[in-house]
Amino acid sequence: MASVASPFPAPAVEGFRPTGLLRWVTTVDHKDIGLLYLLTSLGFFVLGGVEALLIRVQLAVPRNTFLDPAGYDAVFTVHGTTMIFLVVMPVLLGFANYIVPLQIGARDMAFPRLNALSYWLFLFGGVLLYWGFLNGTPPDTGWFSYAPLSEKPFSLETSVDYWALGLLVTSAGTIATGVNLLVTVVSLRAPGVGWFQLSIFSWMSLITAWLVLAAVPALTAAQAMLLIDRNLGAHFFDVGRGGDPILWQHLFWYFGHPEVYIMALPAFGIISEVVPVFARKPIFGYGVMVASGVAIAFLSVTVWAHHMFTVGLGDVADAVFGLSSMTIAVPTGVKVFSWLATLWGGRIRLSVPMLFALAFIVQFTIGGISGVTSATVPVDWQTHDTYYAVAHFHYVLGGGSLFAILAGTYYWFPKMTGRLLDERLGKWTFWLMVVGFNLTFFPMHIVGLMGQPRRTYTYPDLPGWGAINFAETVGAFLMGVAVLVLLWDVRWTLRAGARAGDNPWNAWTLEWATTSPPPAYNFVALPPITSPRPLWDLVHQPSAASVQASAAAIDPARGWRPQIVGIAAFIFSEVTFFGALIVAFIEYRTRSLGPGPRDLDVPRTLFFSLFLFASSGTVYFAERRLARDDQRGFLTWWVVSMGLGAVFLIGQVTEYARLYADGITISTNLFTSSFFTLTGFHGLHVLVGLIALGSIGAMARAGDFRRGRRRVAVDAVSIYWHFVDGIWVVIFSLVYLLGLVT
C-alpha cells in the first residue's frame, strides 16, 4: 500500500533551527521530545534492570549474603520507583508524544514549549531521585513509601526527601503532559478526524491523559504532606501524635491503582494498532474497544482499597472494593475478546511486533486472572505479602505493558528512524524475553502460594524454594540478554539497517501517510479521512483516494480553544489535589487536643474573604470591558482585582502571624498541620494567580490585547482566578464555618 503522494510542495519551515546538542536542549518538536522521552527512559530501564538483577542474584540461593538487608531494601525500592515512574510511564508518554499528533493529523502538540518543560521535569526529577544514591542515602522504604516508616523517626536521612522531591518534580511534568495530550486530541484534530475517526491509540492516550489528571495530583498532595511532616514538623502520618498512616495508604493507592491503568491503557492502544495491521483485518468492535477504555478509566478510581484488604477496613469496605475490583475485569476482558476476534480469520503475519503483541495478550490475561483472585478478599489475605502478588503485578506491567512497549518499539521504530529493526535479531529478543519473563515470574505464583514473603532480603532453605528461586534468577538473566540483543539491534540498525520506506507494514493510521522519519511540519497533505484507518480506505475505496488538502488545510478548525481546554484540564487536576488536602483536613480537624476550629477568628477571615470573592466580579467586569476593546476600563478593573486579591493575601499572612504569636504553629497538633497546609496551599495559588494577573496587566499596558488580540490569554487567567475564588468558598466553609456549628 502506498502512502499519500501530494501534488503540493513541502512547506518551508521558518526560523532558526539549531543543530547538535543545542537542538536537543532547545527542541520543542513533539517528535524530538518523544525520542528524548524514549531514550531517557531506556537509560533508566538499564538502571532499573541492573537493580532487578541485583535483587535476583541476592535471591538466587537461600540465606544469601550478596546484599545486606539495607542494601536490598534500597535496591528494590529504587527498582520499583524507577520502572514505574522513570520507565513504563515516560516510555508510553514518549510514544504518545511522537505518535498522537501524527495520528490526528496535527503539526505538533497543543503547547510545544510546555511539552519540552514536561520532559525536562521528568529528566531532572529522575536525577534528583537518584541523587540519594550518589550521596550515599538511597531511598529504602519501598516504591509506595508507607508511613510511618517514611516518617522522620524511622528514616532520619534525606533518602525519603529525595524520593518525594524527585517524584514531585517528575509528577509535575506528568501532569503537564496530561494537560497537553488532552488538549491536543480535543483541539488539534485535523478536519475529518472526528471522535469516531480517532485511532484507538489516540483514544487510549486521551483517556490516559484524563486519568493522569484525576490520579497523579493525589500522590502530589500526599508527598507534600509527607515532606511537611518531615521538614516542618507536621503530624499527618505521625502515629505518635495521632497521625494516620492509613491516610497515606488511601492517598497513595487512590493514585496507585489508576496508575496501573495509566501504564496499561496506552499499552492497550499499542496492541490495538499492531494486532489489526498484522492480522490484515480492521479491529473488531472499535466502539466497544473505546467504550471499554473509558469504563476502565472510571472504574480504576473506585478500586484503590483492594491494596489495603489486610489493613482491616471492615467487611463492608472490603466487599465494596472487592466487587468494584472484579467489575473492572469485565471491560478488560472485552478488550481481550476483541483482540482475539480481530485475530480470528485474519491473515496473520508473525513479524516481531505481532509476536510481542500475541505474548502480551496471553501474559496480560494471566495477570488479569491473578488480579481477580487478588480481588477476592480471603485469597488476598493469604497471598498479600507473598511473591504471588509480585507475580501478578509483573504479569500486568512486565508481561503486559513492557511487552506492549516492545511491540510498539518494533512497530514504530521504522517511522521514527526510517530503518527497520532486524527481524532475525528481533526474534531472538522476543524468544529470550518471553522465556526469560515467564521463567522469572510464573514460578513466583507457586513459591508465593507456598508462602515466600516479598520485600525480604533472604529466605530459609525450605523444600523447593531454593530451586524455584534459582530458576527465577536464570530467567531474569535471560531477560537481561534479551535487552542486550535489542540494544545491539538498535545500534546496528541505525548504522546499516534496511530502509523502511514510508509505510513498511502497510498500516492504516495517519502516521504512515508521511515520510519516515516525518518532516518538522509532519504532513504536506492528508488523505481523505472518513474512518480510523484512512490508508485502508485509500486502497479499499479507491474512488475516494484523491488528496484533499493543502498544508494550510491540515491546521485544526475547531471551536475548542486550546488555552481554554488546557486551563479547564489543569483545574481538574487541581480539584484532585485540593480534594486530597480537604480529605486530610476533614479527618484531622477535631481529632486532637489543643487548638482547633474554634480558635479561628471567623468574622475577621470572612471580612478578608469578601475581598477575594469581590475580585471574581471585578475580573468579570474587566473581561466585559475588554470585549468592547475598552483598554483603559479593562486595565482599571484588572488592577482593582489585583488589589482585592492582595488584600486577601495580606489578611491570610496577618492571620498566620497572629496564630504564630499565640504559639499555634503547623507542628502544634493535627488540626494545625492540616489547617496551615490546606490554607497555605490555597494562599500559594492566590499568589500565583496574582502573578498571572500582574503579567496580564503588564501585557495590557503594552497594548497586547488591542482589537481582540490574545484575548484567550485573558480568558484563561480569568478562569484560573475564578477557580481560586471558588475553591476558597469550599475551604472557608469547611475550615471556618463548620467550626462554628460543630
Binding site: E14, G15, V25, T26, R113, Y119, L123, G166, N231
Partner: protein, 56 residues
C-alpha cells in the same frame, strides 16, 4: 496555499524553568539558598518564556 509551516521556534526557556523547579526542590533537602537560586532561575525563565510568546 500556505507554503510556510508556522512551527514554534526552538527555546531554551523550558529547560531553564525545569532546572529552576528542580533546584527549588533540591534546596529543600539541602540548603534553602539553592531553593532561592532555583526560584530566581524559575522567574527568569518564565519571564523570558512569556517574552518569547509575545514576540512569536
Amino acid at each position: 496555499m500556505n507554503e510556510h509551516a508556522h512551527l514554534p521556534a526552538p527555546s531554551v526557556w523550558p529547560a531553564t524553568v525545569g532546572a529552576g523547579v528542580t533546584l527549588i526542590a533540591f534546596g529543600i533537602a539541602t540548603s534553602l539558598l539553592l531553593s532561592a537560586l532555583g526560584a530566581g532561575l524559575l522567574v527568569w525563565g518564565v519571564l523570558r518564556w512569556v517574552q518569547e510568546l509575545r514576540h512569536g
